[in-house]
């Protein structure tokens, strides 16, 4: 694995804070077209056995080449490590002129793991303008414990991000991020290829940690997500806990958020 292709610590800190990373034009156009052809002709309907080694998936197909691109493989490695497990995939089709309505949800209400996490990858094989309804993500929702589609009442949240992108763009996201498919107002069918992967190793320092002590890391971890409002400080503490898990550093802190509540001295000194 080329170290220079792995995520940086700043990028990982961004992932820890917002729950997703976006990379534009990761996949060359020709390969996008070949993968799109496989989706639209139904060649990718069959799923591999859940839990099988991801390295065995799609040995000859264009979609396999997409995920074996060095940069894509390096990002996967940074988040879930070597030899991830295939969970499932779907070539999500939103036909031309389809209204979706309210759809915000979190995939994995049954996943109550505290810190370990799966990733999902959203790959857009064609240009996806606003009106074609690419996926909407709500940054900073990865630590929220809600029950799948019970958040459907929420239509808009400040800071929401819609996938408006060129062909070859990928979003790598923590599976607990709130997201929503949107309506396709165009005359073209729209595909989004989704892949879920599970780690098989401890998710600790799997990225390029050369910049771990860069001030930009703390800056990314300290960022305020506008919709958190009064909950910002608790979100920050969860983020610090997550960063401790990712770095294997149980003492990491921003200012003294955990430093205060973990400070319960037992040293007895003589009075007077």
């Amino acid at each position: 694995m080329d170290k220079n292709l792995l995520l940086t610590s700043v990028e990982m800190a961004q992932f820890a804070s917002t729950g997703f990373l976006r990379f534009d034009n990761l996949v060359p156009r020709e390969l996008c077209e070949a993968a799109h052809e496989e989706m639209s002709t139904g060649k990718l309907r069959r799923r591999a056995p859940m839990g099988s080694p991801f390295s065995e998936s799609w040995p000859d197909e264009a979609i396999g080449k997409v995920f074996r691109l060095p940069k894509v493989a390096a990002i996967i490695h940074s988040l879930v490590g070597p030899n991830p497990r295939y969970d499932h995939h779907a070539a999500h089709l939103t036909p031309a002129n389809t209204r979706k309505g309210a759809n915000l949800h979190q995939d994995a209400e049954y996943d109550i793991r505290d810190l370990h996490f799966d990733i999902q990858i959203s790959f857009f094989p064609e240009d996806t303008p606003l009106e074609s309804g690419g996926t909407l993500f709500v940054p900073g929702t990865q630590f929220r414990r809600v029950h799948e589609a019970e958040i459907k009442r929420y239509q808009n949240i400040i800071g929401q991000v819609q996938a408006v992108c060129e062909a070859g763009t990928m979003f790598f996201w923590h599976t607990n991020i709130w997201h929503s498919a949107r309506s396709n107002f165009t005359d073209r069918d729209r595909y989004m290829f989704k892949l879920r992967l599970n780690p098989t190793v401890r998710q600790q320092r799997l990225w390029n940690t050369d910049d771990l002590d860069s001030p930009e890391v703390k800056q990314a971890l300290n960022q305020k997500i506008p919709w958190h409002g009064q909950r910002h400080r608790i979100e920050l503490m969860n983020r610090i806990k997550f960063w401790r898990f990712l770095t294997g550093d149980p003492t990491f802190d921003l200012a003294l958020w955990w430093g205060r509540v973990e400070n319960t001295p037992d040293i007895i000194v003589q009075g007077g």
Binding site: R99, G101, A102, N103, L104, L130, L136, F143, R144, R145, V146, E150, I151, R153, Y154, Q155, N156, I157, I158, G159, Q160, V161, Q162, V164, S180, R182, S183, P226, W227, H228, G229, Q230, R231, I234, E235, M237, N238, K241
Partner: protein
């Protein structure tokens, strides 16, 4: 003559704090005066009002305010749904 009816619009405003003057961090509109289907607004969208108070000044009636409650013991560091959900109503006359 078309029959005149009163129809309800519900506006959900999610605030950053319990004060009705706090900033809106999320919003939903359920409009009973039309058959139009809702669409999420996308990433550049601005909320319809800056606060619940602003909406009241524009004629919306507040019909529900959220309880303020302490976290359960042992769950002090856990977050889940949006906290400060205010429900507002407007009744509008439409011609049936």
């Amino acid at each position: 003559m078309p029959e005149t009816q009163l129809r309800q619009k519900l506006l959900f405003l999610y605030l950053g704090n319990s004060s009705l003057e706090s900033e809106v961090v999320g919003w939903s509109l359920y409009d009973g005066t039309t058959d139009e289907m809702f669409e999420a607004a996308g990433e550049d969208a601005e909320p319809p009002y800056n606060s619940v108070l602003d909406a009241m000044r524009d004629g919306w009636r507040v019909i529900q305010v959220p309880f303020i409650k302490a976290p359960q013991v042992g769950r002090e560091y856990e977050n889940d749904y949006l906290d400060f959900e205010f429900v507002l109503e407007k009744m509008e006359v439409i011609n049936g």
